[in-house]
């Protein structure tokens, strides 16, 4: 199968004053297109940093990352943004909706950034799909946590991304709502054939994925294929 993400010998160092802190070291793995992939590990193990670097949100210090066939090292910030806009989707623990936009407008943003006309038509379909057909004109502050995360899901899938990065997608939700959101996430993943990369503390959630990568102290301790695969 085709590899959609290839990470080789990745190293990331943060400098704080005169001190240098290596947050990721010697990370190598790859993800097949259409599969689901979980990154787990304790707090401070470098999960979110790894997710961000894989999505081209920051520069790496050593190694290479190839995302959707593009070497991220060779792209500037705007080229990386374009790649994200066309091929990548995001879901965050705290939803990260724009507070000044309605649910419908939030879902339309990535399409609008692509210059798609009739963005709201596609956005409405997605909101209907996540069960928020009656909430188009609600602002984030008027929605519950679960509803906000569903809007975020609709936004993430709005551009039909090849790969979707989710950072603790159920971290701010109660168990029941969390389960509903996860079901929706995997349903959409299957329906659209999107590769899924999830950062999580929740081992039950991790086990739903085809692959699990366990990090500790910035290093890979386990890279395994789970039973469901």
């Amino acid at each position: 199968m085709t590899k959609i993400l290839n990470v080789h010998n990745l190293k990331k160092v943060y400098t704080s004053g005169s001190k240098k802190l290596t947050v990721l070291d010697n990370i190598s793995f790859s993800i097949e297109a259409g599969s689901s992939f979980a990154i787990v590990g304790p707090s401070g193990s470098g999960k979110t940093t790894l997710l961000g670097l894989c999505a081209g949100l920051d520069q790496i210090d050593e190694g290479t990352i190839t995302l959707c066939g593009e070497d991220l090292n060779g792209l500037n910030e705007d080229q990386r943004a374009l790649l994200r806009n066309e091929k990548v989707g995001f879901i965050f623990q705290d939803f990260q909706l724009l507070p000044t936009l309605t649910a419908l407008e939030n879902v339309s943003v990535p399409l609008e950034l692509q210059g798609v006309k009739n963005a709201s038509k596609d956005a409405k379909e997605l909101l209907d799909k996540v069960g928020l057909g009656s909430r188009y004109d609600h602002y984030p502050s008027q929605l519950s946590g679960g509803e906000q995360q569903r809007v975020a899901l609709a936004r993430a899938f709005s551009t039909k991304p090849e790969i979707l990065f989710a950072d603790e997608p159920t971290g701010n939700l109660d168990e029941e709502t969390g389960k509903k959101v996860i079901k929706l996430l995997f349903d959409l993943n299957k329906e659209m054939g999107t590769t899924l990369v999830i950062v999580t503390h929740d081992l039950d959630l991790a086990r739903l994925n085809q692959h699990v990568l366990r990090l500790k102290g910035g290093k890979i301790v386990i890279n395994e294929t789970t039973a469901i695969s």
């Binding site: 670097l53 806009n85 936009l101």
Partner: protein, 833 residues
Amino acid sequence: MAWRDGKASGKRLLLFMASIILGISAVVSIQSFSNNLKENIGLQSKALMGADFLIDSNQPANERVEELMDSLGGADAKEVNFASMAAFLKNGNTKLVQVRGIDGNFPFYGELETEPASAANSYQELGGALVDATAMLQYNLQPGDSVKLGDITFPIVGSLLTAPGSTAIGATAAPPIIVPFRFMERSGLLQRGSRLEYNYYFKNATIDLKQLDKMVDPMLDAENADMDTHTDTSERLGRRYDNVGRFLNLVAFIALLLGCVGIASSVHIYIKEKLKAVAVLKCLGATRKQTFMIFLLQIAGMGLLGGLIGTVIGLLLQQTFPLILQEFLPFEVEISTSFQAIFVGLSLGVIMSVLFALSPLINTWFVSPLQVLRVQEDTGKKSRPYQLWVMLTIILFVFWFAYWLLGRWTFAAGFVLGILVTFSILGLVSIGFMRLIKRYFPKSWSFAARQSLLNLFRPNNQTVVLILAIGIGTFLISTLYFTKDFLLAKTAFETNEQSPNLILFDVQTDQRNEVANTITPKGLPLIDNIPIVTMRLERIKDRSVNDIRLDTTTRVNKWILNHEFRTTYRDSMIGSEKLLEGEWIERVDPNAKVIPISLANNVANDALVTIGDTLLFNVQGKLMTTVVGNIRQVDWARMQLNFSIVFPQGVLENAPQFHVLTTNAPDKKSSANLQRELVRKFPNVSIIDLRQVVSLIENILDKISWVITFMAFFSILTGIIVLIGSVRNSKYQRIRESVLLRTLGAQSKQILKINALEYLFLGILGSGVGVLLSLLSSFLLAYFVFDTPFVPSYVPFIILLPGITLLVLFIGWFNSRGILKSPPLEVLRKEGS
């Protein structure tokens, strides 16, 4: 604790402080300069007049006045002054000047400042002239050149820099020329019709001026003379500058108020972010008072420091005022430190910042420790009654301060009301505009355009405050331009051949034809030939003018009693007149006992007369009974000869009179040629060149508007500081939004565009609301105050609106630079933590 917390929020508190610094520096600089001006006027009181007191009259002292003056020890110096044409022989130029013929060792206090300095003493002996220094420069004259006044040519012995009794602004209209009095009679300029003023100066430092004034003035009034003491002059001058000072103080106070609104808005956001910390402190056992005091002390400290810095800047700033205002000041102002202004600056800093911060601060009082667990609890309801008290206290304080500045309850109430109405209108219009735009903004516009507009509504936005601050500044400046423009349009005269642009005064009856014969052969039209007869009022209805003068309860305006009226006679009304009451009478029988006359409505109002009332005039010795036959409205601003009293034809034809002739010279060259020839042939004739008058008015309005623009700039600057504060306050949120957009795939230029458009909207809204409101206020000013049609000037639209918008765009963009540079992952990690 207040200090520790303040240190942690140092940068933001500094920005709050900046909002108040500008306002305080404006108030202190104006306040201190006004105090200095008042002190200087008091100190230089004698030097301003040049004597202890003077007696003035429009005619040479008669026997009775001579006797009175003798009883006071006789005048120590005398002067006659009048407007006349001067011809500069070196280059043939002519100019309307103020001739001051002086006899004696005037001035006794202060000095005639001349170049060379010796000319001030030698001009009397040499029989020379001291010519205004600016006119010397303008006409390229040097000592040794000659100036012709009437029939006499004087050698110029020096240039006149300053002289008691001459103001710089007056000198722009008719520059003064000082010559020895002894030549005046021979000059042929003291003729009938010339508006002469005789001053008799006295030097007597020991006399009780108040007592003297009380005793002598009524006697002089009866002889159409007047007494003026140096204290009267300085008090009059003091009052005049006091009014200007108060006006500027109010403008400065508005800038301070705007700064305070900025503070209130920033503190509101600051405190909102601190509410959780307050709840935690309360959980740990801090009392309401303790937590309240932490922030109150911070704000008071910030106000004190802001007041201190503002005061220092204000004191430095006032050093520049004499340069800015020199054209308006009759003397040099020595700047010293005014302790009153320092006190005002410091106390205003503390009081205003605490007062305006109180409203958000009250929320800390009502924060429940429970909010550590449930942040959403609403404290607003509990604090509402207290907020109303705070609002009332602010209004009362503003009212009290305005009263302290203006000295009248009604004016102070008017000011507070005006401020409330203006702020409310601006606030409501901004909110209305924003809602309309949000609602009707075309959905088809680009994402960047729509997103930037929505940014104006982000949580904790300060959009309304910003629009208010930018709007007030723009409003002040643009009202000024509109007003200046329609005033100039009003003074501008028609350029067609039948509209006069040269007015010839003081033409004697026997010179009439000769003057006309000088004009017409040049192909220039003789447009008007208006006879003028001077007269004074002797009785109004059944009371003598002297009697009314002594009546302290009379409401008859004093000028009516002492004025020498220049009247004319004609059989019809002219374009600037409109009949209000009564009937126009064309002609009466020469032997009529009572003559129906026409009064301008302002004269009828000031004299308290109406149709049918009798007025007795003294027409140069002959008494003439008249009755008010009609009342006219006169557009005095129209550039033509207007009269407050018009007689019908038939009665004044044989009275002693002089004439005013008017013509139209198509260009400057033909105008100068005609003026040269007229001055040569008829030295007594004065010429007013309306072209010069218009440029003179333009010049004066320009200077006044400079001062007001200077003050309005303070409020624009305050707006800019509030803008910087607002961008800084929302910086984290802006970074979060832009990172999120970049994560979702937005390009740098898209984010830059969103940011730029947001400031562009803000600038357009602020300056647009300001310009639109100023259109309304200028229209009201034109309609109700100046009674003139309002044609809006284009300047605010093509310069002010884009100029201020670009300024806001630049400031906003400059302060948002860091937003684009923040790496997305850093922000996401912070969010995640």
